[in-house]
Symmetry: C2
Subunit: 392 residues, 2 copies
């Protein structure tokens, strides 16, 4: 009786729900402390101390919970633009920024603005598969192309997938689930290719850079700018990961002021932010993040967890590439069978996510944004699973 | 280069933007204090005192900004359900409730769950015209039928518009823009008719009750329950108006547990809340409103404004029906020309909204959620406009 499409989606997504339910059952049966849950990118770290002090200060101001312009408070947009200008090496003004309900809200407003019925959006695997829903929401579809073995995007593969139906390419660096940071020369090559192809097909192919993990990087790496290297580019991001506040739904979209159809693009995103029912990004969180530009949780804590997990798993023979950012480790499933490995780990009360959820069924994902005790506690289980998988 | 549909929407909605821009220009030119802005339903009232104390208490807890289940915190859903059970005279549990990003978020998640391509949704004029976008977002379209002269819905008109393509009927009581509260016998008759028609056409026609103004009512009136009178009904609402926090985007959808396709319906709404990019309703606001069930701003302040405005306008010969709820007054435009009247008022630096924005071009809307000084200050202008319109 409900929408056929939603009904189908619920059936196909029931596998993930089953995983989640199995996890809940395990926790109920053995106690949450005896289940090692690496399944969700839900940061264990508390928000940084100054988030709390700014939040309390802003919450004490009783006068600012009303509607503001759909794009957000002008002063907040200005502060966001100033910091983003540094990150993107492109001068942005507040007018170029639309405050949104997280990166998910930004992506939906942007895709609705861009997509005509039947249009495609290209993404490179491994990638965050919610993109599929986000494109489908607005009459488009996601086309997946394989990335390189080192998880970098393959610009030639993307180029090969571009047709007259292509409205946009989405990239996500640092990447969920691989932790890969795409090098600056790759972004430059991508920008050049998109410019060339846009002119060839007579249609602007936009670049959407989904980058909520920009600040979660290790070993002195910085994430290269995107707006600097392509005019028809839009940033979609959030404060969920750097401030550890994913439940609060605060983020933004920033449009390159040199984009060709700039006025329609920015006004379309503002309109879509409204008509999708978001109306505006949550008021108190807008005012809070405005004063926390550049602030993030202590990255060293994540680095310590990464090194602990990677060190332990490497010794057991698990194969992976050390992530340069994010809090995910994408590990090769022995024999290339993600479901089998996830199941072996489940027998050890270890919850992970099969790679097919990211377009790479030969891998599984471990989210290490957990307490260190979860990592140390799971090590024996990882070893036993490796043995059962015939790795040892 | 952007979506054709969004481009068209921007062109057709440019009139409202022009109104808004004219208002901004007037304020810049004559000073905001000399412009009488009755255009927006943006409450002037501050949130109630206990909103602030609860918010500060919840904000001091540093541990609760992470993801929670997409439907919201279980304890919050339970508290919302308990209060809604009283309002709806139907026993609800937390499982029947999905926390959303305001009523706009609830409506979008519900419509996406229900609509197949080409489906229709029926609403009665006058009504909130964003419904048109919300239906269009998910492949459906809004069908408008005229309400009665006293702004009550006309159940026969709605019945006449139902076809096999009809997925739902939306009602909004207390009504924006008329302030009408639909009587209980009307809701009962609507429920009966929908049951009969659903069985006739072999398809469940859902009833969506959009009721963010339920607590903003005057003269001892209470808003009748909806879930009590129709099983296939869903409530969409928010705390925006009763707590004066529309910028914070917090509301919920509540599904009648006796709905025919209940499991798919509730799980579909939860899925759509996620895949539309909302993910979940803002965490801190969920925790805050949980402790403010049944709390609202001082309704007497709105009543005073209503009576001040209505008293003054009546004396000048303006015709209207005294609103039983909301903070809107829907006034007959002299000669039936809303644009002309809105323009005459604009010459007096009074901003109102033409009725065509609500499907009733012979009226204009005055939002009286403003400071009393705005009302008293505008009286001379209303009188001069009445004179120019030939009313006096």
């Amino acid at each position: 009786m409900i929408s056929k499409r939603i009904n189908e989606m619920m059936e196909t997504s029931s596998f993930i729900r089953k995983m989640f339910e199995t996890g809940s059952e395990l926790k109920a049966k053995y106690g949450a402390e005896n289940v090692f849950d690496f399944s969700l990118g839900n940061p264990h770290a508390l928000p940084p101390e100054n988030f709390n002090s700014v939040l309390l200060k802003k919450a004490a101001d009783k006068t600012r919970h009303a509607y503001m312009p759909n794009a957000g408070y002008p002063d907040v947009r200005q502060k966001v633009a100033e910091f983003a200008s540094t990150e993107q090496q492109k001068v942005l003004s507040g007018d170029n920024v639309v405050m949104t309900s997280g990166a998910g809200g930004a992506l939906n407003a942007v895709l609705k603005t861009l997509l005509n019925p039947g249009d495609t959006v290209i993404a490179s695997t491994p990638c965050f598969m919610e993109y599929k829903f986000y494109c489908d929401n607005h009459g488009g579809s996601l086309v997946l192309v394989p990335g390189k073995k080192d998880f970098n995007i393959d610009v030639e593969n993307i180029e090969g997938a571009i047709t007259e139906k292509t409205a946009a390419v989405i990239i996500n660096s640092p990447n969920n689930p691989s932790g890969r940071v795409y090098p600056e020369e790759t972004i430059i090559a991508l920008g050049r290719m998109l410019k060339k192809k846009s002119s060839e097909i007579g249609r602007t192919v936009y670049l959407i850079s989904d980058e909520p993990y920009r600040k979660i990087v290790y070993d002195g790496i910085t994430v290269p700018p995107v707006l600097k290297h392509y005019n028809n580019a839009i940033i979609c991001t959030s404060y969920s990961k750097d401030l550890s506040i994913p439940g609060e739904r605060i983020g933004y979209a920033a449009v390159n002021p040199d984009a060709e159809d700039y006025d329609n693009l920015i006004n379309g995103i503002i309109l879509c932010n409204r008509i999708l029912g978001y109306v505006n990004a949550p008021a108190l969180m807008q005012r809070t993040i405005a004063e926390l530009q550049g602030v993030s949780v202590d990255i060293n804590l994540y680095k310590k967890k990464r090194d602990m997990l990677a060190g332990g798993l490497k010794e057991m023979g698990y194969e992976f590439r050390i992530p340069e950012g994010t809090f995910y480790l994408l590990v090769k499933a022995p024999g290339g069978d993600d479901m089998k490995m996830v199941d072996l780990l489940l027998q050890e009360k270890i919850l992970t996510v099969p790679g097919r959820g990211f377009g790479v069924p030969e891998y599984f994902r471990i989210a290490f944004c957990v307490d260190e005790n979860v990592i140390s506690g799971a090590m024996d289980g990882f070893r036993r699973a490796a043995e059962k998988a015939g790795m040892l």
